[in-house]
């Protein structure tokens, strides 16, 4: 009998329910426009949310590496500067030696100033940690000469020649004896294990830094490096053996030896500087590639979680039109009563 019966409740409820749904959608779109991201990432991505979370964590990890690389570069440059100071000091001392070798001018005072200058430079710090300590960076790598190695140097000298350095009898030491002493007993003081027990608190293990997700590099120079030992040897040779009290030949032998040791030490320090420079270049290129990776990950996050604000805006416009139509329909339905016409 009735082909299309519709109850009053369902007539009025249909447009009311539609308005509620569309208003909820409006809120969501409003949030998406203001943030440029999905309003509820988890609900949209479902099982893919973990991937988005992983990307966020990875971006964080890359940023942390970029930050720590900045600190690494900073320390590398400070080490570089300290090495330059060491080699500048060595060059100056070398000139003094060359001049004094022929002129015979007294060297003892200059040499002990140069030695303490060297120890100061080798104990360079970045304000918190010592640069040449290896992993043992909290302790000054080289001991003060007077309160540390002086005793063993004097003892070695006394053991060999029967009197301490600076003794008037020292003028009788022959050049050959002196050379033999320098090559053996004296040189042994700068080799392991004497070097470690008398001179150095530095660790052979270098500071190792992670500069990318896959790469680690050694970023420190240890005071135990051969070049630095040789510098110490050259300075000590001239300042600690009472060079001014030696006979002319022995004096010349000591200075010649010191000149040749200094020369090879300066070369060594330069090589250390070059290797630090190489490390710095590696860190920089690692940072560049980290930045590039971070950009890629960020754009993948954008692809996963981002929304097109233009599209969202268009949908908001459409929605508001629809909501307005629903309102006017509700009003129409309410007006549409048989009571108004009878």
């Amino acid at each position: 009998m009735r082909t299309a019966f519709i109850s009053t409740t369902s007539l009025l409820d249909t447009s009311r329910g539609a308005v509620l749904r569309k208003q909820a959608e409006m809120t969501r779109l409003g949030k998406e426009i203001s943030t440029g991201r999905m309003a509820d990432v988890g609900l949209n991505l479902g099982a893919g949310t973990g991937q988005a979370a992983t990307l966020h964590i990875d971006v964080g990890a890359l940023s942390a590496l970029v930050d720590s690389n900045g600190a690494v570069v900073q320390r590398l440059r400070q080490s570089q500067t300290a090495l330059t100071k060491l080699s500048d000091g060595a060059n100056r001392f070398l000139q003094q030696l060359v001049m004094s070798r022929d002129s015979g001018a007294a060297l003892g005072g200059t040499a002990s100033i140069a030695l303490s200058g060297f120890i100061g430079d080798a104990n360079a710090s970045d304000g918190d940690q010592y640069l040449f300590g290896g992993v043992n960076s909290s302790i000054a790598p080289l001991a003060d000469y007077a309160s540390g190695p002086k005793a063993v140097v004097d003892a070695a000298f006394t053991a060999r020649f029967g009197f301490p350095p600076g003794d008037p009898a020292a003028s009788s030491i022959s050049a050959a004896d002196m050379n033999d002493f320098l090559d053996n007993q004296f040189a042994a003081l700068f080799a392991d294990p004497d070097w470690g027990s008398n001179w150095s608190s530095a660790s052979d293990a270098p500071i190792r830094n992670r500069i990318s997700t896959t790469e680690t590099v050694d970023t420190s120079v240890s005071a135990n490096q051969q070049a630095i030992r040789r510098l110490a040897m050259a300075y000590t040779m001239v300042s600690g053996l009472g060079v001014d009290s030696l006979g002319t030949d022995a004096r010349k032998a000591v200075i010649d030896k010191a000149i040749s040791v200094l020369g090879s030490a300066i070369d060594g320090v330069t090589a250390l500087g070059q290797s630090l420079g190489g490390t710095e270049a590696r860190v920089s290129s690692a940072t560049d590639s980290l930045d590039a990776q971070r950009d890629i990950l960020t754009s993948r996050i954008q692809t996963l979680e981002g929304v097109d604000p233009a599209e969202a805006k268009v949908r908001i416009d459409t929605l508001s039109t629809q909501i307005e139509m629903s309102y006017s329909l509700t009003v129409k339905f309410l007006q549409m009563s048989i009571l108004n016409y009878i």
Partner: protein, 488 residues
């Protein structure tokens, strides 16, 4: 035909019209009640030609009504699970926030990487402790949330069971009245409306099927086939368990002595709020708790210290410890509630009298466990090893339901994926079932609902018929009057 017969017919017609008018006004009164069904007064003609109302019929459709009940049950079940999942989602938060345990583990890894690149720095060591504390707190809070959700679900199940028993008691009364009324031929349509409303509410709580019996009697079974109401109401029982610690299973709901929820249910119900709450309490929340526990156990394992002295001592809890510490829990085996008790070892936290250097050097469990005996300030080996250990593949208990043999970070984000996948699926189920329910309700409303315009038009018709009958009585009276005048 005599005049008195005509008068009788007109009188009967007046009564019938009045009765129909009253039914129509009942219809208008019930127009805004979704449980009200449209009544029609079917009138039949008596052998003497007079009209007499015999029955009041309800317009309804048993098939559509059963579908509406079904959609209500599945809808409330999904909604109960979704409500729980939304609260679990709070423990994960947005992907760009540091809310989730996974993101916290990532941040901890970053702090360790930063510290490994400057092992001598106290401020970076403190940052590592802070990140570790945040990670432990995220796991503790998530565990607390899961426990609350399970306890709340348990309470809601008790409430639901109480409601079901109340509804069944009312159903018993209404059903008995309807059967009695049908026997003595009364109008039982309002009782049947009431009964349908009760069935609707019942189907919100528990999935039901109904069986119609003669004389308007019904029997109600759960969707799994356990009788809820058949002549008498069966008892639904549930012992609430207010201390649902991780690893403690929720109690089962019994209908007529048969367990219908929980792991040992012989006839498990599949829909209704009760089924949804049981799924949440005994399945979803339990799996999520297992994932949290495995993350916590993995952290204790990854940060454990091993004997470095060659003495062969057992591994001991390092940066992270737990209620069973300093022992390290067995690998790949779930430890219930460890996510609730995991904490940063007090012996590395200066605020608790600890020493920050132990993160870098090890030795939390004594000198034998020290990785850096010379206490070199820039020793990064242990820190590097910790960063590697977090990402290193390890085994997880299958109870967590996630890919095993993965790094902790991957396991953590896997948990995020699992949760959001459940939420997305359940949410789209709720939408879908909502749409189905809305369509079925519309269809039912269009079968059984009232259109006030139609009723008003019908009343106009009835008014005219009433006028015609009244007119007829007038005519008969006039005719009798003329007759009496002629006679006298």
């Amino acid at each position: 035909m005599s005049l008195s017969v005509a008068l009788n017919t007109a009188r009967a017609s007046l009564l019938a019209t009045a009765r129909q008018l009253s039914v129509s006004s009942r219809n208008i009164g019930g127009a805004d009640d979704p449980a009200y069904t449209r009544k029609s007064a079917d009138s039949t003609t008596t052998p003497d030609g007079g009209a007499r109302v015999i029955t009041i019929a309800r317009s309804t459709d048993a098939g559509i009504f059963a579908r509406v009940l079904g959609f209500r049950s599945t809808g409330t079940a999904s909604q109960a699970v979704l409500d729980g999942l939304e609260r679990l989602h709070d423990t994960v938060g947005d992907t760009d926030s540091l809310t989730s345990p996974a993101a916290r583990i990532g941040a901890l890894s970053q702090a360790l990487t930063a510290q490994a690149n400057a092992p001598s720095s106290r401020s970076l060591a403190q940052a590592t402790v802070t990140a570790a504390q945040a990670t432990a707190a995220a796991l503790n809070n998530a565990t607390a949330t899961v426990t609350t959700i399970r306890t709340d679900a348990d309470k809601a199940m008790a409430t639901s069971v109480g409601d079901i028993n109340d509804l069944l008691a009312r159903l018993t009364e209404v059903n008995a009245a309807a059967v009695k009324g049908t026997f003595i031929g009364e109008d039982v349509s309002d009782l049947l409306d009431q009964r349908d409303a009760i069935l609707g509410k019942l189907s919100d709580e528990i999935g039901i099927t109904t069986v119609d019996r003669p004389n308007n009697e019904i029997a109600v079974y759960t969707d799994s086939g356990v009788p809820l109401f058949d002549k008498t109401a069966r008892s639904v029982t549930f012992a609430s368990n207010l201390a649902l610690a991780p690893g403690v299973a929720g109690n089962a709901v019994y209908v007529d002595g048969v367990p219908v929820t929980g792991a040992n249910a012989t006839m498990p119900i599949s829909s209704g709020r009760l089924a949804g709450l049981a799924t949440l309490c005994d399945d979803v929340a339990v799996t999520y708790q297992a994932q949290l526990d495995e993350m916590a156990r993995g952290l204790v394992e990854a940060f454990a210290e091993s004997d470095q002295s060659g003495g062969g001592g057992a591994d001991r809890a390092g940066l992270f410890t737990w209620s069973g510490g300093p022992a390290v829990p067995a690998s790949g085996t779930l430890v219930d509630g460890i996510a609730g008790s995991i904490k940063v070892n007090p012996s590395v936290d200066p605020a608790q009298g600890g020493n920050l250097d132990r993160i870098r050097d090890g030795g939390i469990n004594g000198v034998a466990y020290s990785y850096n005996l010379s206490v070199a300030a820039s020793f990064s080996g242990r820190l590097e090893a910790l960063v590697t250990a977090v990402a290193a593949p390890r085994d997880y208990d299958p109870a967590a339901g996630l890919q095993t043999n993965t790094g902790l970070d991957t396991f953590g984000t896997g948990s995020v994926s699992w949760l959001e996948d459940q939420r997305k699926t359940t949410s789209s189920n709720v939408d879908y079932q909502g749409a189905l329910l809305s369509r079925a309700s519309d269809a039912l409303s269009n079968v059984s609902g009232v259109n006030v315009d139609d009723e008003y038009a019908k009343q106009l018709q009835l008014e005219q018929s009433y006028q015609a009958s009244s007119k007829l009585i007038n005519i008969v009276r006039d005719m009798f009057d003329s007759l009496f005048t002629a006679v006298s």
